[in-house]
C-alpha cells in the first residue's frame, strides 16, 4: 500500500474543500453577475460556499469511502489506517477519536492561552501599547470563543469518548462513524476562526450580540459559521453518549453503578444535545439578517436585540454546565480513587448533576438583569438561579466527604482535583453576587464577572481537565508522565491562577469594566500585578507541554493500573487493547469498592478481573 502524502486523508479533505469552495463561489458569482450584482460578496459567498467546502472536506477525509458509498447502495471500504496514522484519518475507534479531540483542543487551548498573554501585555498598563483597539477586540474575541470551545469539548469530547465506553464495559461508542464525523467537523471550526482572525477578526466577542454583529466586519460571518459547525459537533456527540450509555452498559452495570464521570458525561450530553442549537439558531438568525435582510434583531424592521440575548443565553448558560459537569465527574472520580475511599453520597451526587441539568434550562435571563428586559422577569430568574446553589452544594458534600478519613495520595492529579474544589468554591460563591439583582446591577460586565467565570471554568473545569489529563495519561499513552514536572506545573498554575484572578475581583468591584483595550489610570497598579501573575500562569504550560511531549515519546512504560483504581478502564492494559475487552465483563457491585466495602472489581495490577464471571 502506498502512503504518499498526497493520499493522506487530511490532504484529500483540504483538496475537496477547496474544490467545493471554488465551485460554489464561482456558481454564486455567476448567478450574481447574471443578476447584475458584484461577482464577489464575502457574506453571501461564505454562507453558501462554506457548507459545500465542508461537505468536500468530510468526504475527502474519509466519510465517502468509509460511509458515503453505502448511502448510494454501495459497499464501504474497511477502515485501514494503523499506527500513528490512525490519528490523522477518519477512524471510528473511540480511543483514537478521544485522543484526536484531546490533542486538538489542547493545542487550541495553548493557542488561545497565547492570545490571553498578548491581552495581558496590552492591559499591563493604561494606554495602548501592543494593539490597536480593533486588534485588541480581535484577540479578546478569539481568546473567548476558542476557550469556550476548549472548555466544552476537551473533557466531554476527549475524555468522554475515550473513557465512557471503557468505564461501562463496551467495545466502542454506539455510533462509531458518527463519532468520527463529529470529530472531523472540528478542524474546519478552528480553520474558520483562524481565517477570521487573518481577515482582521470580529469585534463582538464570543457572545456576538447584534446589532453589532450585524454591522461589523466580515470576520463575523466566519465566526458564525464556525460556531454553527461546532454546535453540530456538540449535538451529535451528545446524542452518541446518551445512546451509548443507555444501551451499551455491560451486564450488571445498572444506572447507579456507573462511575460518576459517566454521570457527568450523561448530564453534559443531555444539555448539549438539547440546548446547543439555540446558539446555532441565534447565529443563523444573525446571518439571515446580514445576508438576506431579515430583521430578527434590527429595530428598524420590528426586530429586537433582546430576542438574541434570550436565545443566546438559553444555550449559553446551560453551556457552562456542559463545561463543568464532566469536570465535576472527573474531579470526584479522582478524589475517590486517590483517597482510596468510596465516593461519598454517590446517589446524591448523581442526582445533583441531573438537578443541575433540570435547572440549567430555566435560569438564562440572569445574564440580562441590566439588559432592559421586562423587570417582571427579574424576581423569578433571581430565585431560580440561586436555587442552583443547592445541587452544586451536594457536589461539594460528595467531594469533602470523600476525602475525609481517606488515604490521600497527593500526586499531580490529586493536587489538581483538590485545587478544583477550592477554585470552584470561589467561583460558585461569587456567582451568587451575579445572580442577585442589586449586586449584579453594579458588577455586571466588570472584571468581577471575568474573575468569576474564570474561577468556575478555568479554576473548576480546566483544573479538573488537568487532573484528568495526568490521571489518565498512563492509560491513554501507556507511559508515565514525570511527577516532578507535573508538580511544578501544578504549583505554578495554581499560584499564577490565584494571583491573576483574585485581584480581578477587586478591580471589577472598583469599576473597571471588561472587554476594554484601555482603562483609567486608577486601575493601573492592579493590572500590572495581574499581568505578571498571568505570565506566571502562562509559563506553567511550558512545563506542562514539555512533560506531555517528552513523556509520551520517552516516558517509562505505565502499568495497567498504576493508581490501584477500581473502575473498569484500569482493569485492562495501558493502553487498552483494540477492542477494550476480550470478554465483556459482568459487574457485580458499584465502582468504588475501597476499604473492603464490597469491591466490584479486583484490583491487582493488570488483568481483566470480572470477565471470568461470564461473557456477554
Amino acid at each position: 500500500m502506498s502512503h504518499s502524502i498526497l493520499r493522506a486523508p487530511i490532504v484529500r479533505g483540504l483538496f475537496w474543500a477547496v474544490v467545493g469552495f471554488v465551485l460554489a463561489a464561482a456558481l454564486v458569482g455567476g448567478i450574481r453577475t447574471a443578476m447584475g450584482l458584484d461577482f464577489w460578496n464575502t457574506t453571501v459567498d461564505w454562507v453558501i460556499a462554506y457548507p459545500v467546502a465542508l461537505l468536500g472536506w468530510l468526504m475527502g477525509v474519509g466519510v465517502w469511502p468509509q460511509w458515503g458509498r453505502e448511502w448510494l447502495g454501495g459497499k464501504a471500504e474497511p477502515y485501514a489506517l494503523t499506527g500513528w496514522q490512525r490519528y490523522f484519518g477518519f477512524s471510528p475507534d473511540h480511543k483514537v477519536i478521544g485522543i484526536q479531540y484531546a490533542v486538538t483542543f489542547i493545542v487550541l487551548f495553548l493557542l488561545a492561552g497565547l492570545a490571553a498573554m498578548l491581552i495581558r501585555i496590552e492591559l499591563a498598563q493604561p494606554g495602548l501599547q501592543l494593539f490597536t483597539s480593533d486588534q485588541y477586540n480581535a484577540a479578546m474575541s478569539f481568546h473567548g470563543i476558542t476557550m469556550v470551545a476548549v472548555a466544552v469539548a476537551t473533557l466531554l469530547g476527549g475524555f468522554g469518548n475515550y473513557l465512557v465506553p471503557l468505564m461501562i464495559g463496551a467495545r466502542d461508542m454506539a455510533f462509531p462513524r458518527l463519532n468520527a464525523l463529529s470529530y472531523w467537523l472540528v478542524p474546519p471550526v478552528a480553520i474558520l476562526l483562524v481565517i477570521a482572525v487573518g481577515m482582521g477578526g470580529w469585534d463582538s466577542g464570543w457572545t456576538a450580540y447584534p446589532p453589532l454583529s450585524e454591522v461589523n466586519k466580515e470576520g463575523q460571518v466566519l465566526f458564525n459559521l464556525a460556531v454553527i459547525t461546532f454546535g453540530v459537533v456538540s449535538i451529535l456527540g451528545g446524542i452518541n453518549f446518551l445512546v451509548t450509555v443507555t444501551y451499551m452498559r455491560a451486564p450488571g452495570l445498572t444506572w447507579f453503578r456507573l462511575p460518576i464521570f459517566v454521570w457527568g458525561a450523561i448530564s453534559a450530553s443531555l444539555i448539549s444535545f438539547f440546548f446547543t442549537q439555540a446558539f446555532a439558531a441565534a447565529l443563523l438568525m444573525v446571518l439571515l439578517d446580514r445576508a438576506l435582510g431579515t430583521s430578527f434583531f434590527r429595530a428598524s424592521g420590528g426586530g429586537s436585540a433582546l430576542l438574541y440575548e434570550h436565545i443566546f443565553w438559553f444555550y449559553s448558560h446551560p453551556a457552562v454546565y456542559v463545561m463543568v459537569l464532566p469536570g465535576f465527574g472527573a474531579a470526584l472520580e479522582i478524589l475517590s480513587h486517590m483517597s482510596k475511599k468510596p465516593l461519598f453520597a454517590y446517589r446524591w451526587a448523581a442526582g445533583a448533576m441531573l438537578g443541575i441539568v433540570a435547572l440549567s434550562g430555566i435560569v438564562w435571563a440572569h445574564h440580562m438583569f441590566t439588559s432592559g428586559m421586562d423587570p417582571a422577569l427579574h424576581a423569578p430568574f433571581l430565585v431560580l438561579t440561586e436555587l442552583i446553589s443547592i445541587p452544586t452544594g451536594l457536589i461539594f458534600l460528595s467531594a469533602l466527604g470523600t476525602i475525609w478519613q481517606g488515604k490521600l495520595w497527593l500526586q499531580t492529579p490529586m493536587l489538581f482535583a483538590l485545587a478544583f474544589v477550592f477554585n470552584f468554591l470561589l467561583g460558585g460563591v461569587t456567582g451568587i453576587y451575579l445572580a442577585d439583582v442589586p449586586t449584579d446591577l453594579h458588577l455586571h460586565d466588570t472584571y468581577f464577572v471575568v474573575a468569576h467565570f474564570h474561577y468556575t471554568i478555568v479554576g473548576g473545569e480546566i483544573f479538573a481537565l488537568f487532573a484528568a489529563l495526568y490521571y489518565w495519561f498512563p492509560k491513554f499513552t501507556g507511559r508515565m508522565y514525570s511527577e516532578r514536572l507535573g508538580k511544578i506545573h501544578f504549583w505554578m498554575m495554581f499560584l499564577g491562577f490565584q494571583l491573576t484572578f483574585i485581584p480581578m475581583f477587586r478591580v471589577g468591584i472598583q469599576g473597571m469594566n471588561r472587554r476594554v483595550a484601555d482603562y483609567p489610570a486608577a486601575y493601573g497598579e492592579y493590572n500590572l500585578f495581574i499581568s505578571f501573575a498571568a505570565f506566571l500562569l502562562g509559563a506553567s504550560f511550558l512545563f506542562f507541554t514539555w512533560n506531555m511531549l517528552a513523556s509520551w515519546f520517552r516516558g517509562p512504560a505505565a502499568a495497567a493500573n498504576p493508581w490501584r483504581a477500581s473502575t473498569l478502564e484500569w482493569q485492562v492494559s495501558s493502553p487498552p487493547p483494540e477492542h477494550n475487552f476480550d470478554e465483556i465483563p459482568v459487574i457485580t457491585g458499584d465502582p468504588y469498592g475501597y476499604g473492603g466495602a464490597g469491591p466490584a472489581h479486583n484490583r491487582p495490577l493488570g488483568g481483566l478481573a470480572a470477565g471470568s464471571e461470564g461473557g456477554s
Partner: protein, 194 residues
C-alpha cells in the same frame, strides 16, 4: 484481537441486530428532539417579533394546497416503509419515488410563494415567514435527497427481506414524517392565526 477485526467496531462488533435497531431508533429520536428545538425557537421568534398578526396578502389557497400535498406525501412515505418492512421492495421503491416527487412539488410551491410574496423579509412577519419556510424547505429538500438515496439502496438490495434490515428506509421515512410534523405547527402559525 488482531488487525483482521479492525473493520468491526463497537456496536457492530457485539450488539444483536435488534439491539442495534433500538440504538439507531433512540439516536434518531434524540436528533428529532434536538432539531425540533430549532423550529420551536423560530416559531417563538415569530410570536416575539410580530405577535398574532398575519398580513391579508398571504396566499391562503396555495398554503392549503401545499399543506395537503405534504400530508399526503406522508401517507405514501408510510406505504413505502410498510412495503419495505414486509419485503415488498418493488412497491417500496415506487412509493419512495412518489413521495420524493410530492416533496419536490411542495418545494416548487415554496419557491412560487416566495416569488409571489407581497411582504418583504425586512418586516416582522416577513422575517418569520421567510426564515420559517426557508428552514423547513431546507429540511424538505434534504428529505427528498434522502428518499432518493433510500430508493437507490432499495434497488441495490439493501433492504431485501425487510424486518430489521429495513431500518435504513424506515429512518429516512421517519425523518420525512418529522418534517411533516413541523409543518403541522408551522401552517396554522404562518397562515391561519390572526
Amino acid at each position: 484481537m488482531t488487525a483482521a477485526h479492525s473493520t468491526v467496531h463497537g456496536a457492530e462488533g457485539h450488539a444483536s441486530p435488534a439491539r442495534l435497531l433500538r440504538m439507531n431508533r433512540m439516536g434518531l429520536w434524540l436528533f428529532f428532539a434536538s432539531d425540533a428545538l430549532v423550529f420551536a425557537l423560530l416559531l417563538s421568534a415569530r410570536f416575539y417579533l410580530d405577535g398574532l398578526h398575519t398580513p391579508p396578502e398571504v396566499k391562503q389557497i396555495l398554503g392549503l394546497v401545499m399543506t395537503s400535498i405534504l400530508l399526503l406525501s406522508s401517507l405514501t412515505a408510510y406505504r413505502a416503509e410498510t412495503a419495505i418492512e414486509h419485503g415488498n421492495i418493488a412497491r417500496g421503491r415506487s412509493m419512495l419515488l412518489l413521495t420524493a416527487v410530492m416533496g419536490s412539488v411542495f418545494l416548487a410551491g415554496v419557491v412560487m410563494e416566495w416569488m409571489l410574496a407581497e411582504f418583504s423579509p425586512g418586516d416582522g412577519y416577513g422575517t418569520a415567514f421567510f426564515s420559517m419556510t426557508g428552514m423547513h424547505a431546507g429540511h424538505v429538500a434534504s428529505g427528498v435527497l434522502l428518499l432518493l438515496m433510500a430508493r437507490r439502496q432499495a434497488s441495490a438490495g439493501k433492504f431485501d427481506g425487510g424486518g430489521t434490515r429495513a431500518w435504513g428506509a424506515s429512518g429516512i421515512v421517519m425523518y420525512w414524517h418529522f418534517v411533516d410534523v413541523v409543518w403541522v405547527f408551522f401552517y396554522p402559525v404562518l397562515y391561519l392565526i390572526h
